[in-house]
Symmetry: C2
Subunit: 328 residues, 2 copies
């Protein structure tokens, strides 16, 4: 039985790793946000894809949450010594991925092929797919003007107040070629939206034409894991952005955001009281992932939730809307 | 009083540093070979220019002879982990120079401007000039076919037997724009050809149109420091290449090679017996540069030699050919 997961960077990658460990090695496909990708110092940087690669490959820095473990920063120090742009940190080991990718793309290769090669080199049996090989760029319109995502996220540390998000190029982007096959696989067990930022990390994926339909028409349950715990994101600006966009940072808003696409929402035990009245089946679990055991446990919770929904007859088009409230 | 030096990489850069220390800080101009430059992993690499930058900037690795001191190699390790090309070593700190340069050139900047900026950042008061902003590429025709220089020099470790050398693009290259001013400077004291490989490092410079004439018409003595000591090069393939090209690896061959351009040849004390009959004024000194004091001492010897030649009336067009043998 295989699973399709959608995810962004750090938080989502943790659950993706849990799913990878919970399933037979070649049973997971992860579709990853590329809206954060950008060109910097002449190199193509793909923050979310690289986080997923490093996390599933067991190479991620466990403390920092991004980049590689045992990383050194001598390149950055030398860049500063030359008066170069140093607002975006590139580790010495991490650089290799950007240099190799940039060369691969310059030679006419696809991002999908490069990520598949890197995954193979890192010994990853899961299929990691960029949401598209076409450029999609998340633009953040703020009170201080429109910023490309990394300028907003890294250089400005999410300080500017967000007024709108746009995924430039998404309308003309073709979804990852392998997705149709994955979605049509009779062995597919569930589709899981990882606890990434719904607005910054998942919406760009959903903005690629065909992606929403793929979820709507899936023959298996689609579930989302809420990124909020007690109205806060574990990491990142989810709650801040929701507030700035006039959305209450609460489970109900996450449920409303994903409701047209999902069959069930998995929320944190802290928010168990929110489970009623969301208009969608809900499961409750401890969603905080502090270590790899937490990731594995949450993955099993998510899969069990999807299996219960499936057994209960939930699926796209015929969703069992009677199944409201806590489904456990 | 100012000095113009021509040099390639390691050996030449050592004397360039000696000259830099021997003179007032802003009195040295170094014209550097760019025939070894190449594009690798999407980056423009300029080995000789970078060696001169690091050496004059006090950043060079004193043991390895190339690259930066306190260097780390995590980028290369990660490149190998990705199955990338790893035959050319790029240190983590060194990489910054290549990334910044590649961006500068991509944005339409000149190599000359980039090197000037890097020299400034490294606190170097000397003027370091690429021989040309136009691409010149040293091609090595060997018994195994024609190789670009770095493939011959680094990847093949100079193993293939050399049949011919060609400096592709040299015929159409324009010499460094600042050179005319330097050569015409009334304060110019001497022109020094550093003890680099005459065939691989100095000939590409001399192949740039106007460069030989600049030396021939200089109003000051032009001297060369022989790269041979006892028929061997201190480092590098000079003697091997001379043998393969059918040239005896001896002082006489170096003298014959440079004779049309120079007013005097400085040779090592080991080769003092060769001083007679070279048809050119000769000075003898200890040319081996094991430490910075050696570099400074040799620089003073070279300058004193040039000053003696000047006092003796040597200059282009009116060279004092009677001054043969040891001039000291």
């Amino acid at each position: 039985m295989s699973v399709l997961a959608l995810c962004g960077g750090v938080g989502g990658a943790k659950l993706a790793q849990g799913l990878y460990r919970a399933l037979p090695p070649d049973s997971l496909t992860v579709v990853v946000n590329t809206g954060d990708d950008f060109d910097h110092l002449g190199l193509r940087i793909c923050p979310d894809l690289d986080t997923v690669l490093y996390t599933l490959g067991g190479l991620a820095d466990p403390v920092r949450g991004w980049g590689r473990q045992d990383e050194t920063w001598n390149f950055m120090e030398a860049i500063r010594g030359l008066g170069g742009e140093s607002w975006f940190q590139l580790g010495d080991r991490d650089l290799a991925l950007h240099v190799e990718r940039t060369g691969h793309l310059r030679d006419g290769g696809t991002l999908t092929a490069f990520i598949a090669r890197a995954a193979r080199q890192f010994g990853i049996a899961a299929q990691i797919l960029p949401m598209s090989d076409d450029d999609v760029r998340t633009m953040v319109t703020t009170e201080e003007g429109t910023l490309v995502f990394q300028r907003y996220f890294v250089e400005r540390r999410c300080a500017p107040v967000v007024k709108a998000l746009e995924f430039v190029g998404a309308a003309f982007a073709r979804p990852a070629a392998a997705l149709d096959r994955v979605a049509a696989d009779p062995a597919l067990r569930a589709i899981v939206i990882c606890p990434s930022n719904p607005y910054l990390s998942i919406d760009p994926i959903l903005a690629v034409p065909g992606m929403r339909r793929l979820l709507e028409q899936a023959a298996v349950p689609v579930i989302a894991v809420s990124p909020l715990i007690g109205g806060q994101a574990v990491k990142g600006p989810t709650a801040k952005i929701m507030a700035e966009l006039g959305i209450p940072a609460a489970t109900a808003a996450i449920a409303a955001h994903y409701r047209p696409l999902i069959d069930g929402l998995l929320i944190d035990q802290t928010d168990a009281a929110d489970a009623e009245g969301l208009g969608i089946p809900v499961a409750v679990a401890r969603t905080l992932m502090r270590d790899e055991d937490d990731r594995l446990r949450l993955a099993h919770e998510a899969l069990a939730f999807a299996d219960r929904l499936r057994a209960g007859g939930a699926r796209r088009g015929g969703r069992t809307t009677t199944l409201t409230g806590r489904s456990a």
